[in-house]
């Protein structure tokens, strides 16, 4: 076993232990809530980086698929009297089917048209859930039932919710790890590095892009279903366009080339920092936007990318970027 691999194994085990013990050490329910939301957000971040790194496409409609998962599961439980444990997988399937239909049409133009279509799709979902009374209207659903208790485990405190989302998170990580290291993952790598060359080695680029999109959207639907039954209220406003834009910050902050660790780190940071600084909801978008800009300009590799490619952190690079910006500003001023 090489040193690098040994290091990876140690980090994985340490991370796992920390994740398992976290809510047992930190007993404050508010903090536990943040841990849960951190895990939800990291899965959403992973779906963004998956579509970006595997298919080379930017998806600004993740919120829509998160919402579809949440609404599908809620309606199955409330109107169909289903058990949460059955509604969860079915919500994933429903999200997957809708993603397949949307991807089938939109991925024919994977560039800018796709980005625009995802934004529009997110808006359509928000409007539909708001306007149509069947979907709860603008008020959404309240008092969504908690998951049925399994044996002695009752979903009354944050603790069981934490372990539920942790197991979903680990399931998704294992799944992604398996698929990224398989030949499907290699085909995705080929597509993201050079779609033309990928075609000449016999990869059906369109089909693999749709596959990545469907898998990523289903994962968003999965955590959406969990989120609905965890927060017990859902409303169209909470899945608005800004939500989808916030999601892309996680992988970009953590490191866009680290499919799993990047979004987790980014989501961890972005879930805690605003809360810790007691920043109110009103100015959060401003901070988020500035942060996004700063990362893209100064640390295009994100935190992990900058740590690994240390030269990126050198002051000369930063000062060069500042000079470029000053030059741009002077051009703008002179106009």
């Amino acid at each position: 076993m090489t040193n690098k691999r040994l290091g990876k194994v140690i980090i994985t085990i340490l991370g796992l232990i920390i994740l398992l013990l976290l809510p047992l050490v930190v007993k404050n329910p508010y903090w536990q809530h943040l841990f849960i939301m951190g895990l939800v957000n990291s899965v959403l971040g992973m779906t963004f980086s998956m579509i970006f790194c595997c298919a080379g496409m930017v998806n600004l409609g993740i919120g829509a698929f998160f919402a579809i998962g949440a609404y599908a599961s809620t309606m199955l439980v409330i109107m169909g009297n289903w058990s949460f444990w059955l509604a969860l997988p079915l919500a994933v399937i429903i999200t997957g089917i809708i993603a397949l239909a949307f991807g089938f049409v939109s991925i024919r133009n994977p560039g800018v048209p796709f980005v625009l279509m995802t934004i529009i799709f997110a808006e359509i979902v928000t409007q539909m859930t708001g306007q149509i009374q069947l979907f709860g209207g603008w008020g959404g659903f309240i008092m969504i039932p908690r998951p049925d208790s399994i044996g002695p485990i009752e979903f009354k405190t944050k603790l069981p919710y934490y372990y539920l989302i942790l197991s979903l998170f680990l399931l998704i990580v294992l799944f992604l790890k398996g698929i990224y290291t398989s030949r499907i993952g290699r085909a995705w790598k080929a597509i993201s590095l050079s779609p033309h060359l990928a075609e000449t080695i016999g990869i059906n680029v369109y089909r693999y892009r749709v596959l990545a999109f469907v898998i990523a959207s289903s994962a968003a639907g999965l955590v959406g279903s969990f989120y609905a039954h965890y927060s017990q209220t859902i409303a169209p406003a909470s899945f608005s366009g800004f939500f989808s834009i916030l999601v892309q910050l996680y992988p970009i902050l953590g490191g866009i080339n680290f499919y799993i660790l990047g979004p987790t780190l980014g989501a961890g940071i972005m879930t805690f920092i605003p809360e810790y600084l007691r920043i109110t909801k009103e100015i959060e978008p401003i901070i988020t936007g500035l942060l996004l800009l700063a990362i893209i300009i100064f640390f295009p590799g994100g935190i992990l990318g900058s740590l690994i490619n240390f030269p990126h952190l050198r002051l000369t690079v930063i000062s060069n970027r500042l000079k470029e910006i000053r030059a741009w500003l002077s051009i703008i001023k002179s106009r």
Binding site: G178, R183, E199, T200, N204
Partner: protein, 259 residues
């Protein structure tokens, strides 16, 4: 037996004819040269054969099968591999990974099995890794296998491009200017490599501007000018063809200086 038959292929970009009524036959295990001044339509023809551009009219047969209008990846699966004029590689991947990714079509195990990395899949991957090593050995890239493709010198990048094309196990290889930007030693290495590939029974069509290399390498040459075929024959015949000389002397840098 004809390996590739191009029959009356025409391609219009808007109102402009990039290629008009081109006929050509490529026979099994021959090296055919495709030459002509810049803008003659050589690369366009490659793009049509390999499925990147739809053609306006005509037919393309490969091994007796009609492949007209098929998608690029389907044509690749039929056994036509190509390289690009501008070096096109998986730049941010290692040399080994470049070729490993290239073996995409060789997997026989189902995709969902690959997800769980069951023993049969692992065994298959080991076999393919062995094949990658062999291919790197043949092309002389073994020492560089852990380098990122982007860090390779230009000559090696071109060789890696051919190597990726070979990883598809093609029956026909289309090489688009394999010698561009190479120094004389690198050119020798590449010419040797192309000859080696032919010995393995792979048919080759090569577009190239370096006339010395084309004359040394090719069994037969076809000359295009303004999207039309103006000559076809053995290298010696082509050198003395009036029309070909005129087509080339019309250009300032007159690349037919070997004559």
């Amino acid at each position: 037996m004809a390996n590739l038959e191009v029959k009356k292929v025409t391609k219009y970009f808007g109102g402009l004819a990039a290629i008009q009524d081109i006929d050509l036959d490529v026979f099994d295990s021959e090296i055919m040269g495709l030459i002509g001044p810049n803008g003659a339509g050589k690369t366009t023809l490659f793009n049509i054969i390999s499925g990147f551009y739809p053609l306006t009219s005509g037919n393309i047969m490969f091994k007796g099968e009609d492949i007209t209008g098929l998608r690029a990846d389907v044509i690749a699966k039929k056994g036509i591999a190509r390289t690009f004029q501008l070096t096109t590689l998986f730049l941010r991947a290692t040399v080994f990974d470049n070729v490993f990714i290239g073996f995409h079509m060789h997997y026989r195990q189902a995709g969902w099995k690959a997800l769980f990395h069951i023993p049969a899949v692992k065994k298959e991957e080991l076999i393919i890794k062995q094949k990658v090593k062999e291919l790197l050995n043949i092309t002389g890239l073994t020492q560089l296998k852990d380098e990122l493709a982007i860090n390779l010198p230009h000559g090696y990048q071109r060789i890696l491009g051919v190597c990726i094309a070979l990883s598809c196990n093609p029956k026909l290889l289309l090489l688009d200017e394999p010698l561009t930007g190479m120094d004389p030693t690198e050119k020798l290495v590449m010419v040797d490599l192309i000859k080696k590939i032919r010995i393995r029974g792979i048919t080759i069509v090569v577009v190239e501007h370096d006339m010395k290399a084309v004359m040394r390498l090719c069994d037969r040459i076809i000359v295009l000018n303004h999207g039309k075929k103006i000559a076809e024959g053995l290298p010696e015949e082509i050198i003395h063809n009036r029309e070909v000389i005129e087509a080339y002397l019309g250009r300032e840098d007159g690349e037919m200086d070997v004559v």
